[in-house]
Symmetry: C2
Subunit: 281 residues, 2 copies
């Protein structure tokens, strides 16, 4: 018997579509309902076999749902979850895939009348978007962070873990502010820096960029509206991360200005050491 | 008949080895001599079929050479070229593959008694090093910048162009200072920023880095000694590039501090526009 009877995915894009595909392929859901603004796109996702039912309104989709996952842009997630709770059951589990957590969780604080919300953030994705790029194995052997609050019932936390584990993901718990501070450094700052590095390159220099520039700026091609939302939602931790990064740049400026080979080497070595450690060299 | 009778490659690593392989595969040289400090490594390169003769001293290798290419670290190139000129012919063409140009060319100014030097910089490479990673197609359809001075004889410029064209590369001419200013922005700044981004990431955050962080920091794994030399040789243009980049970061800080969505969007759009243009989206 499938683990879930009725699963509702709000926002059937790359992440929502990949969750749907993974649930289908692993036989984990009896029925998957997809919710979106664009009925035609939803029908295409249904024809492609990702979802079983399509809805342009959240409330009727969420009726009788066992699991609701909000895969919409971060500034919309709290409102979408609240819409879904209206017709849900007291046993419904709500979660999301948002890249920021503290703002969403504080918006939902004390407002969920039925069911339980546990924030999630799968560290998986792609610069590609849309359900056409969805992959059933997107979460396999990747980390998903879940961010329960102190008063989140233990059973809901365990259910959320079991859900991500069932898609092949490993799960780690963090508090919402801890999540946001870590992601500001590991994800949001790199995006901002990639964007600044691209923007800093004059057009007439573009013939002369090589592999290094291309790698460093790849994520700057991402969806600007989505990233604007992420950076605004997490602006305090991001500002702190930019400030720390600017201090490293300042050390570089001093070392180059005074032509200090030991300082320059030591800066390069700090970077290489962390990089090598991250990729297990 | 091969284009070159005797070619000397000083430094048989990734770039030197790839030039050797390309010359061999295309039948462009009668004899390729490899020069290096480590006789055992050179013999391995000879056994692997990259070079025909091995030398640990530059002078005897350069005797009777038609073409000498210095593929050593940037701070060593001028001295290596000067050693090679001692026993060379007046018709010998000297070039290099160094990532910086103005310092090398000013060091050589007025000191070359025999033959002609034309600076080159192929925009090709890899984070891998050593002749084991050499590829005959490394320069194919890639750009090589050549940096003649005002008094470089036209024939030597044409010969240098023809050399790189014969390996499959496209060639563009630039003045040495122009080259260094462009590369500071398109290559040296990205390296410094990738390194700073890695160094700014605390060790206990490394489990939570995703694809974006990995892309942005990849080049930080490069050889620290080599990059220390490149950044020192080109430190004035690099400092200028860091200063301009720091101004973009400053705009980011202001926009986030004041939570200005239009400003944040506009910054993201500038980055995306340049990035998309660079990769032809």
């Amino acid at each position: 018997m499938p683990q879930w009877n009725r699963v509702v995915i709000i926002g059937v894009g790359l992440l929502g579509g990949s969750i749907a595909l993974a649930l289908k392929q692993r036989g984990l859901a009896t029925c998957i309902a997809g919710v979106g603004r664009n009925a035609q796109r939803l029908q295409q996702a249904q024809t492609a076999g990702l979802i079983d039912e399509t809805y342009t309104d959240i409330e009727p989709a969420a009726l009788d749902a066992d699991l609701v996952i909000a895969c919409t842009p971060v500034q919309q997630i709290a409102a979408d979850i609240l819409s879904a709770t209206r017709w849900a059951k007291s046993s419904t589990l709500f979660t999301d895939v948002g890249s920021t957590k503290a703002a969403i969780i504080s918006e939902l604080q004390g407002k969920i009348s039925r069911g339980t919300f546990v924030g999630s953030h799968p560290l998986a994705g792609s610069e590609k978007s849309g359900f056409e790029n969805a992959r059933a194995d997107l979460f396999e052997n990747r980390l998903t962070l879940i961010t329960p609050s102190e008063n989140t019932p233990n059973q809901a936390v365990e259910q959320t873990k079991a859900f991500w584990n069932s898609l092949g993901a490993q799960v780690r718990e963090m508090s919402p502010p801890q999540h946001d501070a870590v992601l500001a450094v590991t994800s949001h700052l790199p995006h901002l820096v990639a964007s600044a590095l691209a923007a800093n390159t004059p057009q007439d220099h573009l013939d002369f960029v090589a592999a290094g520039w291309r790698d460093c700026t790849r994520i700057a091609a991402g969806d600007v509206e989505l990233w604007c939302q992420i950076l605004r939602e997490n602006r305090r931790p991001v500002l702190q991360a930019v400030e720390n990064f600017a201090k490293v740049l300042q050390s570089w400026q001093t070392a180059l200005e005074n032509d200090q080979p030991e300082q320059i080497l030591s800066l390069l070595e700090s970077g290489k050491q962390i990089r090598d450690q991250a990729v297990g060299n």
